[in-house]
Symmetry: C2
Subunit: 155 residues, 2 copies
DNA sequence: CCTGAAAGGGACTGCGA
DNA sequence: TCGCAGTCCCTTTCAGG
């Protein structure tokens, strides 16, 4: 576990909000010279604190506004069964997230779809064909209340 | 709904993978001049296709490796009840996502915690104090099988 | 750990096609 | 739309404290 000082936290907060902020602007906001600022950012990247930088698409604008959460139960929790299922999940580009769960269902998935008709297609051609599935339960999200990729770096 | 040509899709694919790629490198990869490339990126930003650029933190490295999915049922689905609940949710920095759901539970939340003890703290001091809650059901994720912020721009 | 200087490269704009 | 060319700013490294 890496320890982060106040300046590191400020850097992380700012870059979580704007991943393309220039080093010069970042340095200015934390009152540090650009070279010192860059060295800290590189250190955070090298240490693995910073996982990466990404562009986010607007789900609506690209025509996939709907989120569906899917609980999946497997016929068996054997290692082979899980591995086969997970391999297939990772290859399906409609599945945005997948978690192995404690509790009732074995897996929780999030799929992004273009309405119910598109979800039916995804269900038919992908989800129902995932190996070792015994039960699928789909839950539609009506609206996203909030969503963030940013963690609060408590100072 | 905006129509995106093949070049736009390539731009979106590349920037979703690396949000800090320089315009010069991006232009090179799509075989376009930097000025033409930059113009397209700006158009995609202005049109709202690109929602933004963010840095991603490694949940493990910052000491919050655990994801908990929480189904919440309200005492009433009246508009006031929903609004009060959602306002409180948006102010809680431990809640990473919240969706209004169709189906059994009213809301689905994701919380990032530092182990079960930390989740107990979050549950006690935040979740159980959210207004109008009748039932809370917590589901721990044992492992993240896959997770992406990137949509496939089918070419 | 920091600052500052210097070189090299990128971002952005205006113009002609 | 594109590409080109010019200007300005940023990135990055290195020397020195």
């Amino acid at each position: 576990m890496i320890d982060l000082d106040v300046v590191d936290r400020k850097i992380l907060d700012l870059l979580q909000e704007d991943g393309r902020m220039t080093n010069a602007e970042l340095a200015d906001k934390i009152n540090l010279s650009p070279s010192a600022c860059l060295r800290r950012v590189r250190r955070l990247e090298d240490e693995g604190v910073i996982a990466g930088y990404v562009m986010l698409l607007d789900q609506r604008a690209i025509g996939r506004p709907d989120d569906i959460f899917i609980e999946i139960t497997l016929v068996s929790q054997s290692q082979e069964c899980q591995e086969a299922f997970e391999r297939a999940v990772r290859e399906c580009r409609d599945i945005m997230e997948c978690y192995l769960m404690a509790g009732e269902a074995d897996y929780l998935l999030r799929v992004a779809a273009a309405g119910t008709a598109d979800y039916e297609r995804i269900h038919k051609s992908h989800l129902s064909r995932l190996p070792g599935v015994s039960r699928i339960r789909s839950n539609f999200a009506l609206r996203t209340v909030c969503k963030t990729t940013a963690f609060t770096c408590r100072i």
